[in-house]
């Protein structure tokens, strides 16, 4: 059984919902992102999702776009993620999932990418722009690595059936049709999709996209096996890094990184934020 599956098994025995934070590798730079991930891991993560910074992140809203941009501007490149994972693995056994757009994997070479995932201690991959129809090749070579597929509230029954049967590790259920980013309200429509999945097969289903508050975590925990939170955590980092309030283009005209991020302060805030979010779990 994969490390992801056994983690869900043991959470289930304890009747607990998984908390899965998403962070961008290299944001705001290699060293600080390593400290951030370690802190978030210790503060209550059951699994970790780590994104590879990409220049054209089609499924991501402004917060994660900017996070990608900060990582790339710091000189971080996707291949360094394996070094980062090795560094994380020195002290943590938390299941770790890489989120990467398909072009990065394609450029890397699929086999090469999967090999490096295995060697460094990655447990699963999510490719947000690779639906199962295009994913055969990756699936065929990715033994020992769980390929996590997505479903959403607009997925027709035939897709739910197909994806559920092929799923490995868990299914990522997209809360609301749209892109990533904190939302005021989360529709509970996804609940129907989850019941349909569970009728087909008992596989963990985690909900993500837009989750940003303890109340949302609480209501999702009533029917989901896990809750994924990305943008809301990254907003804490964004504030600390203290770019002007505006958009990416404002950020680009400013100096790259402010001279001094109060590192300890940021890590403390993140810890507090995560503990607060996971309180209801």
């Amino acid at each position: 059984m994969s490390r992801i599956s056994s983690t869900f098994e043991s959470l289930k025995r304890k009747n607990k919902t998984a908390f899965i934070p998403f962070l961008m590798a290299g944001d705001p730079n290699y060293d600080l992102s390593l400290e951030i991930i370690k802190t978030v891991d210790r503060s209550g993560a059951d699994l970790l999702e780590i994104g590879l910074p990409y220049s054209a992140p089609l499924a991501d809203g402004p917060t994660i776009q900017k996070s990608s941009r900060r990582a790339l501007d710091s000189g971080f490149q996707p291949r360094q993620v394996f070094e980062l994972v090795e560094d994380i693995r020195r002290e943590s056994h938390t299941p770790l999932i890489i989120m990467s757009y398909i072009n990065l994997i394609h450029k890397f070479g699929m086999e090469n990418f999967i090999t490096r995932c295995r060697q460094s201690g990655v447990d699963g991959i999510i490719v947000p722009d690779l639906p199962p129809e295009e994913g055969e090749e990756l699936k065929n070579i990715s033994s020992q690595i769980d390929l996590i597929w997505l479903l959403s509230s607009n997925s027709p029954a035939s897709r739910i059936d197909r994806v559920t049967r092929a799923a490995e590790g868990f299914i990522y259920a997209v809360s609301t049709p749209g892109i990533t980013g904190s939302r005021e309200k989360i529709s509970l429509e996804i609940k129907n999709t989850i019941s349909k999945i569970k009728e087909i097969r008992e596989i963990p289903v985690c909900v993500g996209f837009g989750v940003s508050r303890p109340e949302q975590v609480k209501s999702l925990a009533e029917f989901a096996d896990g809750v994924i939170v990305g943008s809301a955590i990254i907003e804490v980092i964004e504030r600390a890094v203290n770019y002007p309030a505006g958009d990416i283009e404002d950020a680009e005209t400013e100096e790259k990184l402010p001279v001094s991020i109060n590192q300890q302060n940021l890590l403390d805030q993140l810890e507090k934020f995560i503990r607060n979010l996971t309180e209801p779990l």
């Binding site: 089609l58 499924a59 291949r79 072009n103 295009e134 997925s155 049709p177 892109i179």
Partner: protein, 404 residues
């Protein structure tokens, strides 16, 4: 098997052109694209749909567009006979309207009320706003802030036509960012919104659909050249941004092995600078905006910023069918620099009385090299994809003339 029939059978299954094409999109878009594919193939076989399409092409767009023998240009270059397919004479001045008309008719049949589109030069935005106005539909155009600046005239035209122009300020603030933003908007609003994509790019079924609507160019050209010369041309020449005017001209000739096809992409300040949009010359296979094709990217797979004097060619990807035609050797791809395009722009204006779009000027720019080497009994057809009124400010600036 010929290239033609190979692509024809391939498309019905999964939108693949050899290894290129496909549907690399977020899960949320898959059902939406399936719905679109379903509708497209349904109406593709529907005689009523075709009748309506042809009616508007004729009475609204003004088709067929002439195939004009450019006698003075031919003399000047001293080689092959040059014909121009006059897409610049279409309503609104470019080939773009063939596609927007086809897609808006489809959108109406699918019961969608809102149209969104991305635009680079603004030509596709104008062509979309035009058909939206004509059918009274809500229309929002996504356009990079950089392009909004470069193409003020087209922005004004879109607004006149009742469209909202959504200025995109992220990334390089050009076409590629506008596409990202439009796709994202669509993901959130697919229920009532039709994404009217402007070139033969994007996830299946767009490359097939756009090609089918643009193929009217090639079908007419074929008839017209047979009428005029009693034979098929030796060369077809078209500029390539996303590749819609090129594939529209090429496609009906794919089975005619004697017809050579050349696409011309934008070499910007030069292929050896980092300021160009020469996807075939300097890119490699990758995935962008939902499809697999040649892509301009760095060694890490990050999409690289592009440059061209013509906003319509300023794009880091290229239609997947062109990648297939390149790989199979059926078509070849060359490039022209900003400067060469401006020279061609001036030349055609001076000696034919036709001001071409800067995009089309890239195709024209390859003529001196091609035509002068060929015998006088050879025939070249250039797709004059648009007129150049929108570009006069840019060219004036390039020539050091201040119009303001």
């Amino acid at each position: 098997m010929s290239v033609h029939s190979e692509t024809k059978t391939a498309k019905r299954e999964n939108g693949k052109f050899g290894e290129f094409g496909g549907r690399y999109v977020p899960e949320l878009l898959v059902p939406v694209l399936e719905e679109l594919e379903e509708a497209f193939y349904h109406y593709q076989d529907d005689p009523e749909f075709h009748q309506e399409f042809e009616y508007y092409l004729k009475d609204f767009v003004g088709r067929p567009s002439p195939l004009y023998y450019a006698e003075r240009l031919t003399k000047k270059l001293g080689g092959a006979k040059i014909y121009l397919k006059r897409e610049d004479l279409n309503h609104m001045g470019a080939h773009k309207i063939n596609n927007t008309l086809g897609q808006v008719l489809l959108a109406r049949r699918m019961g969608k009320e809102k149209i969104i589109a991305e635009t680079g030069a603004g030509q596709h935005g104008v062509a979309t706003a035009t058909v939206a106005a004509m059918f009274g539909m809500d229309c929002e155009i996504f356009m990079g802030a950089e392009d909004v600046k470069r193409q003020a005239l087209n922005v004004f035209r879109m607004r006149l036509l009742g469209a909202r122009v959504n200025e995109i300020t992220r990334g390089t603030k050009t076409l590629t960012d506008a596409v990202d933003a439009a796709i994202q908007h669509w993901v959130e609003n697919s229920e009532d919104t039709f994404y009217l994509l402007g070139s033969a790019v994007g996830p299946h079924p767009y490359p097939v659909m756009v090609r089918e609507f643009q193929s009217v160019i090639g079908r007419e050209t074929r008839e017209q050249i047979l009428d005029a010369e009693g034979r098929l041309p030796d060369y077809l020449l078209a500029c390539v941004g996303g590749g819609s005017n090129a594939i529209g001209l090429f496609h009906p000739f794919l089975d005619d092995e004697e017809v050579e096809m050349i696409g011309v992409e934008a070499a910007g300040l030069g292929l050896d600078t980092d300021k160009h949009a020469a996807t075939f010359s300097r890119g490699c296979p990758g995935i962008i905006h939902g499809y697999k094709s040649y892509v301009l990217q760095d060694e890490n797979g990050q999409i690289t910023p592009v440059h061209s004097i013509s906003a319509g060619l300023d794009y880091p990807g290229v239609g997947p069918e062109h990648s297939f035609l390149k790989a199979s050797g059926r078509a070849s791809y060359e490039s022209a620099t900003d400067q060469e395009a401006v020279e061609a722009f001036k030349l055609l204006s001076e000696i034919e009385g036709i001001i071409p779009a800067l995009e089309s000027s890239h195709a024209l720019a390859y003529l001196p090299e091609l035509a002068s080497k060929l015998d006088q009994d050879k025939i070249i057809i250039v797709n004059l994809s648009g007129r150049g009124d929108k570009d006069v400010y840019t060219v004036a600036e390039e020539m050091g003339t201040d119009l303001k």
